[in-house]
């Protein structure tokens, strides 16, 4: 017994290792179990119908039971598989992936509860890309080939998205990306590729408009060495050069913890930067921002801290306790602009994670609906029909009204950038700035654009209160 016990426990360990290593496969299996359970409930259809008959005098209860019958009818049919991707393990931004997985499943559950699409349930297969480009190709192939996905939604990392679009194009499968900012995701002009997130250029132009309005002359950018950070910093530098603003870009690998050597190098340089902009995501961004604050580099009276957009997340103050007066880009709506759908998703997200839903979580929720409703309208899983229906989308969801102004029927005109192809153009982008330690982002000042300013100023100077 004593000789077998370690072997048995080792077996369990290796089994768990294999399950973990398979990542998305594990999720697939879980999803299928749920589907089987739904299918089993079909046997109860007669019973449910009988209950409807017996209770026909009680209007409200009848409605509830009828809904259940619809659900059961939907569950009876073969599910329609929608694939979704996001980083669920390192080196990807795991927090982002888990948020996207949650809202994607939330949307699928809602659609299935309402009877599915074309009378069939949706099966969501969410796979882990780890933020690695090579995984992007592999998981997209797998979703299409093995899981039979008729469309793919989600993805957080641009580097992954850029490899996935090639698969979407080659396999002719519609894909709606919800957080890949790299311009080239849609600039490639593939019929199959849509985006409901902002683009690097869109974001860069907004940030530069703000920084330019402040009359800054020299800006340092700290960017991650990825397909998000490199083009984003290039776009920033390009805009800065156009406006006559000097800039230097310092690259770092995603996952770097210690930024002190490079921050002290910037601090010891000949020119004191007017602003330091962080184009690094996830926990890495918090490390940069806290370290530059604690050595007195930024925010200071001389240097503005332009934190990464993840500064909006609830954990910002735990990780960057010295980050007061940092400004950041807010992608997505402010609570005053929430509609009922946004509020519903936000409530569910808060109940699960005890924090407000970030824009990419809302975008993933919306992308599932866009895909599902396009399939419903198309009346088939034919890719051409689905693509045509996604192009025709005109629907208000959690992030606002969705439409795609340029596509197969209306090519991008010469005076518009190539990335406007299949691009949702109305993503809300504002600059906010904290002015109290521990401040809720919803209370932070909106400093740009001028039309949305909440405190009548484009910058709250360091150490002051508006």
């Amino acid at each position: 017994m004593s000789r077998r016990l370690p072997k048995f426990v080792l077996f369990l360990l290796i089994l768990s290792l294999a399950l973990v290593a398979c990542g998305g496969q594990q999720v697939v299996e879980v999803t299928r179990v749920v589907t089987e359970v739904q299918t089993e409930t079909v046997t109860e259809q007669v019973e449910v119908t009988r209950v409807v008959t017996e209770m026909e005098t009680v209007t409200e209860e009848v409605e509830v039971e009828v809904t259940r019958v619809v659900e059961v009818e939907a569950a009876k049919a073969e599910p329609i598989v929608i694939g979704a991707t996001g980083p669920l393990s390192a080196p990807g931004s795991v927090g982002g992936g888990i948020a996207m997985q949650f809202t994607a499943q939330l949307a699928v559950d809602e659609i299935n509860a309402a009877g599915g699409i074309m009378g069939r349930p949706i099966e969501l297969v969410f796979v882990d890309t780890q933020g690695l480009p090579e995984r992007g190709t592999a998981v997209a192939e797998r979703l299409i080939e093995e899981d039979g996905a008729v469309g793919i939604v989600g993805e957080y990392h641009s580097a992954v998205g850029l490899t996935m679009i090639e698969v979407c194009h080659e396999r002719h499968i519609p894909c709606v990306f919800s957080e890949t900012w790299n311009d080239n995701v849609t600039a490639a002009g593939y019929a199959e590729v849509f985006r409901v997130a902002v683009t690097s250029t869109l974001v860069a132009s907004q940030q530069i408009n703000w920084l330019d309005s402040l009359g800054l002359e020299y800006i340092v950018i700290i960017a991650e060495n990825t397909d998000y950070g490199v083009p984003a910093s290039e776009a920033q530098v390009s805009f800065m050069t156009e406006r006559g603003i000097d800039s230097d870009v310092y690259f770092a690998e995603l996952g770097t913890e210690d930024f002190l050597p490079v921050l002290t190098r910037i601090q010891g340089g000949e020119r004191t930067p007017d602003a330091i902009m962080v184009l690094v995501t996830g926990e890495t961004s918090y490390n940069v921002e806290q370290q530059m604050a604690e050595i007195g580099l930024a925010p200071t009276e001389e240097t503005i801290c332009v934190a990464n957009q993840v500064a909006i997340n609830a954990e910002f103050w735990d990780n960057v306790p010295d980050g007061n007066y940092c400004a950041y880009l807010r992608v997505g709506l402010t609570p005053s602009n929430y509609n009922d759908i946004t509020q519903g998703v936000d409530d569910a997200y808060r109940a699960q994670f005890d924090r407000p839903a970030p824009s990419y979580a809302l975008a993933t929720y919306d992308s599932v609906y866009i895909m599902a409703e396009a399939i419903e309208r198309a009346g088939s899983t034919d890719p051409d029909a689905i693509i045509a229906e996604i192009e025709a989308t005109d629907r208000t969801l959690a992030q606002g009204r969705y439409y795609f102004p340029y596509g197969l029927n209306n090519p991008v005109p010469d005076d518009q950038p190539a990335w406007m192809w299949h691009q949702w153009p109305d993503a809300a982008v504002v600059m906010q700035q904290y002015f109290e330690v521990g401040q809720d982002p919803d209370d932070a000042a909106v400093v740009f654009p001028v039309a949305f300013q909440t405190h009548g100023t484009a910058l709250i100077p360091f150490g002051t209160t508006p």
Binding site: R3, L5, P6, V9, L10, L13, I14, S16, L17, V20, A21, S89, A90, P91, V94, G95, G97, I98, N225, D248, V249, Y250, F251, A252, E253, G255, T256, E257, D258, F259, L260, P261, V262, T264, R265, G268, G269, G282, E283, T284, Y286, N287, Q290, Q291, E294, I295, G296, N313, A314, E315, D318, N319, P321, D322, F353, R355
Partner: protein
């Protein structure tokens, strides 16, 4: 020289180092053998002499064939470093590492601080290897768990008990927690290997510690979630501390400006490494551990139970990893996957220092800390310095494998 372009200076230097280094490394041992002299250590000496002086040093070396020793190699290495610094100053005269001694001093201090913390973690790994002959692939995860134990202990004390405590106490609690993990894991999974119950112990040790790493990381992820956490600082609100200015002869070196929290963490690491060295060298149990690492059978004859020492070594190793994590949780944002990079760095450090050597791990940690800091701070292209940070350490690692495969303090297999 003044008329040469910086790029030409750099290219010329690299070519010089390569050509004469390779020639010295190949020819020197052959010359010693040809004269019926002991060629041990002459390859490294030849490489260094070739790189420093080319034919000016190699020809006398081959003619006089002096006995190669570490003092000679060290002397040539120092001269080589000075020479390289001069070339660097010619290549990039505006670099802060050339123009500001205070900058160099501060970066050195930063590198040493982080190096001590690296060393604390690596010492645990090398201790496990030294006693058990096992590389623990779960070492990074013990480091991660130590950070989380400290974080949640501090949070609990603040929010539930209502008595905020300094993160230094978190280091102790994390040490106890991770030691307990080691005490549970080793008898269950590694002891059968030492009792001859496992057919292929080498592969088994890799698999079982690798499996443990996955288990710990994913269990932690499901418990604490993916969102980054960070403990309050050791000295909240202090930011930087300024020490000095210092005087060297009549020369003012300027103040040392250090991040207060890092200084405390590095000091705690030094104290813990000191305590470990005291334990290993001055206590009976510590000596017993060292005896087992040298010769298990002889230690058994002297009344030491090797199985218990294995368990103790593993527990101390995991404890040190956990304490290292706990020391850093007020400094870096903490996530369940943070251990992977730290573990990789520890492997580099212990190979650099010599597998199984505690002083080697200490010096290895300091070298990697220094090289990463100075490489990032001095790299000619400042915008790329940080992106190459890990590569700087790996270059040193590769050079060590080339010159001295057993590491700084490693023992040759008999």
């Amino acid at each position: 020289m003044d008329n040469m372009e910086p790029a030409q200076i750099l290219l010329g230097t690299i070519l010089w180092l390569l050509v004469w280094g390779i020639l010295g490394g190949i020819r020197t041992p052959n010359v010693y053998r040809h004269k019926n002299l002991n060629p041990d250590g002459t390859r490294g000496l030849g490489i260094l002499a070739g790189m420093l002086g080319g034919p000016i040093l190699l020809l006398p070396l081959w003619y006089f064939t002096p006995v190669a020793n570490s003092k000679m190699s060290a002397g040539i290495s120092i001269l080589l470093l000075i020479g390289l610094y001069k070339v660097f100053a010619l290549y990039d005269p505006n670099n802060l590492c050339v123009t500001s001694f205070n900058y160099v001093m501060n970066q050195t201090a930063n590198g040493l601080q982080i190096g001590f913390i690296y060393a604390l973690m690596a010492v645990g790994l090398t201790l496990i290897y030294g006693i058990q002959g096992v590389i623990s692939f779960a070492h990074g995860q013990h480091y991660m768990i130590g950070g989380f134990i400290s974080f949640f202990f501090l949070k609990w004390m603040t929010e539930t008990v209502g008595v905020p405590v300094n993160p230094l106490f978190g280091i102790l609690v994390a040490g106890a927690g991770t030691a307990l993990l080691g005490l549970l894991f080793e008898p269950l999974f590694l002891r059968p290997m030492h009792q001859g119950q496992i057919e292929r112990p080498g592969e088994y040790a890799i698999l079982v510690t690798f499996g443990l790493a996955f288990l710990l990381e994913n269990t932690t992820l499901s418990i604490v979630g993916p969102f980054p956490q960070k403990a309050a600082g050791y000295l909240p609100g202090t930011g930087m501390v300024s020490l000095g200015p210092w005087m060297l002869g009549g020369f003012e070196l300027g103040p040392l400006r250090l991040v207060a929290d890092r200084l405390v963490a590095a000091t705690a690491s030094v104290v813990l490494i000191g305590a470990l060295l005291f334990f290993l060298n001055r206590t009976w149990v510590g000596r017993a551990l060292r005896a087992v690492s040298m010769d298990k059978q002889a230690a058994s004859v002297a009344g030491v139970n090797p199985l218990r020492m294995n368990t103790l070594a593993f527990a101390i190793g995991t404890m040190l990893a956990g304490m290292s994590g706990a020391a850093l949780v007020p400094i870096f944002s903490w996530v369940p996957w943070i251990g992977a990079e730290a573990a990789g760095r520890s492997f580099v450090i212990i190979v650099l220092g010599g597998l199984g050597s505690v002083p080697g791990a200490l010096f290895g940690g300091l070298i990697i800390g220094l090289v990463e800091a100075m490489g990032t701070a001095c790299f000619p292209d400042p915008t790329r310095g940080l992106a190459y940070k890990t590569a700087f350490g790996l270059v040193i690692f590769a050079l060590m494998l080339l010159f001295r495969p057993t590491g700084l303090f490693g023992r040759k297999e008999s």
